[in-house]
């Protein structure tokens, strides 16, 4: 009896897992070295299928990469006494430092609103506004400004139609991490979508780390600020005095 029940449950679950996504990344470590100029990541994969390909609906793939969240304040300038001054600020509880969405087609057409809300896929849903201080008439303007500014810096990317899906099985896309990305764990989520619903999801991580020297300097600056200050002074004295001593030596 129990075996039969287990089999029935498995059978019921089977249509959900009828198509399964298998993913690979060109790299899962990004090192912020001295000459870091940004990085391109290739995300590729295949759809594993145990049943026949459904013919009545289209398959779509969505790739979302999300950088570590940050608390942020968005400021709006207004003219005061002739000069432009930050007059209003809106705090955000958390906004991803990096967010890129690549899809096989227009996001609003391939994904239902419900599925978007459940899985928080579109950029707008990845940002959490603070509940306090929303006596403002247009709180949304601040979040929109954040998205607009970060899009212009390449930190937020909405790349519809850039996932290449071949014969409903193989897919690939390239995403660029700009030079201003911060350290941390970047979640890469890949969704298979049919009829507006997510039918399978895969999550993996890309580790973005400062390289050895940069890591050491940052740790020193934050953990041992006194020693770091002394290091800065030592370098200044060493180079400032050393160089002029060297030039004096060269001249004589």
């Amino acid at each position: 009896m129990r075996v039969l029940l287990a089999f029935l449950v498995l059978l019921a679950a089977l249509p959900l897992r009828a198509e399964e996504v298998i993913v690979g990344l060109s790299q899962n470590r990004v090192s912020l070295t001295v000459n870091f100029e940004g990085s391109e990541i290739l995300i590729f994969g295949a759809v594993r299928r145990e049943l026949a390909l459904p013919e009545d609906s289209a398959l779509d793939v969505i790739v979302a990469i999300e950088g570590p969240p940050q608390q942020a304040t968005i400021w709006r300038k207004a003219r005061r006494a002739g000069i432009w001054v930050n007059t209003e600020g809106q705090e955000l509880r958390a906004a991803p430092s990096f967010y890129a969405v690549a899809t096989t087609g227009p996001l609003s057409e391939i994904l239902s609103v419900d599925a978007d809300l459940t899985h928080r896929i579109s950029t707008r849903l990845a940002i959490f506004e603070a509940r306090s201080g929303v006596d403002r008439t247009d709180p949304a303007a601040f979040t929109e400004a954040l998205i607009r500014i970060r899009e212009s810096e390449g930190l937020y990317q909405q790349r519809e139609g850039t996932v290449d899906l071949q014969r409903d099985t193989l897919f690939s896309t390239r995403l660029t991490l700009p030079k201003t990305i911060v350290e941390g764990s970047y979640a890469a989520r890949i969704f298979l979508v049919r009829d507006g619903d997510v039918i399978d999801e895969f999550e993996t991580f890309i580790d973005v780390r400062k390289a050895v020297l940069e890591r050491w300097l940052t740790n020193l600056a934050y953990d041992q600020p006194f020693l770091y200050g002394l290091l800065a002074l030592f370098l200044a004295v060493f180079f400032g005095w050393g160089a002029s001593a060297l030039f004096r030596l060269l001249r004589s």
Partner: protein
């Protein structure tokens, strides 16, 4: 070649940085100015966050003034006593400046404060320098013009707590030098400059110090105040970027050597006019950014970043 700055968390072109350091170094060698007041705004223009630009600029001041102060100490052209009084004022001023800097950072107004300070000070200094050098140019053409008297006693010298400054040959109250020091310390912390451009005129015109000890004594004060301010920025807001500093310093020391060489060969008055115009141009650019309607009204500050 791009260089990743670990504290600013962005990359900038290494040659741009060497160029900024070197160009300002040439000017400082030619005119004997520290150049902090040009480095910091130039760093804003190439996209270094203002907080990092200020803290790293002040670190660079240490490098550009250390060899000068050592040379002056050797030649005994430093009024140590006056320098110490100015320095005590400078440390107090630096603490006030750091406190104000961090307060304004939290309120999201630090960029504005730094830019406004630059507009005001570069405007005043550039204007005075232009006026002075034009006058000097006229004077050199007309040698019979009356020269101004340098040392005059004014009321501030007669405040209480008089002190003898033997090297400068002065017997004045400690308050004027102390207050001058405080003012320079505040500027160092907020603007990332040494403050020589304020200190030198104040020492000559306000304190009435003899010219031969002015440069050495001001370098003495500036070096220590800049060192202290670097420490305070490093400890309170972690905004000193060592990687950025190294490139600025390397460019700066080489540039200064070149500048000294050029300065000997060219005519000083005309160069001074050029420097004044350059200072006014930087001032004008920052003022323009404050007055002109920005293309993006919104900006982002992230907790724990610059």
């Amino acid at each position: 070649m791009q260089i990743y700055l670990p504290i600013a968390e962005t990359s900038v072109n290494a040659f741009t940085l060497l160029g900024v350091g070197g160009g300002v170094g040439v000017l400082s060698g030619m005119f004997g100015v520290g150049g902090g007041f040009l480095i910091t705004p130039l760093l804003f223009f190439i996209g270094v966050p203002p907080a990092v630009a200020v803290a790293t600029g002040v670190n660079q001041v240490v490098a550009s003034s250390i060899s000068g102060v050592l040379a002056h100490l050797k030649r005994k052209t430093v009024d140590i006593r006056m320098g110490t009084v100015l320095l005590i004022g400078g440390l107090i001023g630096s603490l006030i400046g750091i406190w104000f800097f961090n307060l304004m950072s939290r309120l999201g107004q630090i960029d504005l404060i730094v830019q406004l300070s630059y507009v005001i000070f570069l405007g005043i200094i550039g204007g005075l320098m232009l006026q002075e050098s034009l006058r000097a140019l006229m004077r050199s053409k007309n040698p019979n013009a009356v020269r101004r008297k340098l040392h005059t006693h004014i009321w501030v010298h007669n405040l209480p707590m008089k002190m003898k400054f033997r090297t400068s040959g002065l017997y004045i109250s400690v308050f004027p030098p102390l207050l001058v020091g405080v003012g320079v310390g505040i500027l160092a912390a907020i603007m990332g400059v040494g403050g020589g451009f304020v200190l030198v005129p104040a020492m000559i015109y306000l304190l009435g110090m003899p010219t031969k000890v002015v440069i050495g004594t001001s370098l003495f004060q500036v070096t220590f105040v800049a060192a202290f301010t670097t420490m305070m920025h490093a400890i309170t807001n972690q905004s000193v970027d060592v990687m950025l500093a190294i490139f600025l310093i390397l460019g700066g020391v080489i540039g200064a050597q070149v500048g000294t060489r050029i300065g000997v060969k060219l005519r000083a008055e005309q160069l001074r006019i050029l420097l004044a115009l350059l200072v006014l141009a930087v001032c004008g650019k920052i003022a323009f950014d404050l007055l002109w309607t920005p293309s993006e009204l919104y900006s982002i500050t992230v907790a724990g970043r610059f």
